[in-house]
Amino acid sequence: MTTDPRLSAHDLTLAYDKRVVAEQLDVRIADGSFTVVVGPNACGKSTLLKALARVLKPQSGAVLLDGQAIASYPSKHVAKQLGMLPQSPIVPGGIVVEELVGRGRFAHQRLLRQWSPEDEAAVAAAMRLTEVSDLADRFVDELSGGQRQRVWLAMALAQQTPILLLDEPTTFLDLSHQFEVLDLCAELHEQGRTIVAVLHDLNHACRYATELIVMKAGEVVAQGSPAEVMTARLVEDVFAMPCRVIDDPETGTPMVVPADRHRRRASRTAEAARA
């Protein structure tokens, strides 16, 4: 470990009021990586992402962007470097898709630079990549869950930040749209962006991640390439799910196959007996 990457977190204590979610949390997001964060519900994945995006202020410790505390930069400067798709954004009423995606350009605008040709191009490109161009004039609160998810993604893309944090970008999406979004992330990654995504499907995670971060109860329990990290032992440990890990016949990456229902019940009983 020589120099810090662009984005890193040091000794974070993350809490909502008195409810402490994570303590002494250290995370480094390798530059140019496609990092995928996995872990059971409520283990603190969204909380970590919010802290990295300076939406949640850590109670102690610091998130560093380019070697400086992220809170010390002008907010608009950070907004040009780092964008995030939240897990459940508030759906505004009475606003159409194109307008919402356009608001993703806010950080690039000024009093007398309200709608530059770059803004226009960025919005059009973001809508094309997420396949929402046809929805341009529809009201956001009248879309299906999956359509809306892609609109939010378009808004984050329109921000054109080199670092992009995505909290469960594939929720609400059908199978083919899930893969389209993941492919899109992979393409953005190939173009040099750093992507951090929270995913629940471990097989998706293994296929797309260059780096996996596995979390459990507010701690990072493993970090590394999917091939190093994703073992049956780890899945059993973190998700309490007996399974086999085999090679994905399509890509050769690890593939998690959950154990049969009866075998899982047997292992639960054995565990209870041991306790």
Partner: protein, 340 residues
Amino acid sequence: MTVLRAAGWSVRVHTRALIVGVVLLLVALAVALVNLTTGDFPIPVADVLRSLAGRGDAGTDFIVYELRLPRVLVTLLVGAALGASGAVFQSLTRNPLGSPDFVGLTTGAATGALIVLLIADGSGAQVGAGAIVGCVVTAVAVYLLAFRRGVQPFRLILMGIGVSALLEALNSYLIYRARLNEAIAAQVWLIGSVNGRGWTEVVIVAVAVVVLVPVVVYFGRDLKMLALGDEMAVLHGVRVERTRAVLALAAVGLSAGATAAAGPIAFVALAAPPLAARLSRSPSAGILPAAAMGAALLCAGDWAAQNALPGNDIPVGVVTAALGGVYLTWLLFRERGARR
């Protein structure tokens, strides 16, 4: 939306909102001109215009400059201040009832004014100062009471309603213990009126409008991001707490200036922004169209107040309260209709 670009600069205007704003402003000015002609001595429009151009005779000049122009300017400016203030509050609280009348500001201003009128025996500019102090103190109190790691808009409104109820009681008590003629004067002030307003009142509200409307318009660009939630606003580079504090303070100032000049005029701040928004077919009213709507509404209200009952110049607050009642009823009626 129309985009104007030149030399790396670009300005985006909501075309329809611009047209609505300009038309409303023209309407307001036209009604204001009519108001200059009406009164105990009707003066033809031509004579009023000649006087305004500085070529009138002494008698007309006196009536126009000393009696009517201040009143008309107060009406225009107070209407604009209330409209702008209401637009900001409604956006900040994300609630159509989040206007200065509902969050206790006008009641607080009234308390300040009543204390000056009834206890300190003040008058004129002192009453205005009392209203401003009352308004600002109430705003700070409501803010602090609603504060719990940042301010949730809904809590703010509930606290405002609570504080407002307390102050109502205090106001009633102040009037109850006053002498009869003072009580009547106080009650008239409480209705809100532009009768007999002079250049002092013009200056009070003009300063508020000239200083604070640009502030509100500048920071108002952040409102469209705040509408997406604090988290989204932070992600896109809005300094949420600072922006909110600046906007809220400026809106309080506008509302205080308006109330100091004309008393607590009801419903303009509540109704002007959504009416302007509806006309411009945009979800959130721009601040300037709302200000133009406020000015037009109040001018029209003052015209009606002078002409509704022949020979009787009733306070404009009565008219706006009546119009506001009709508006609220209509709003609720529409809501019910929409839900069925």
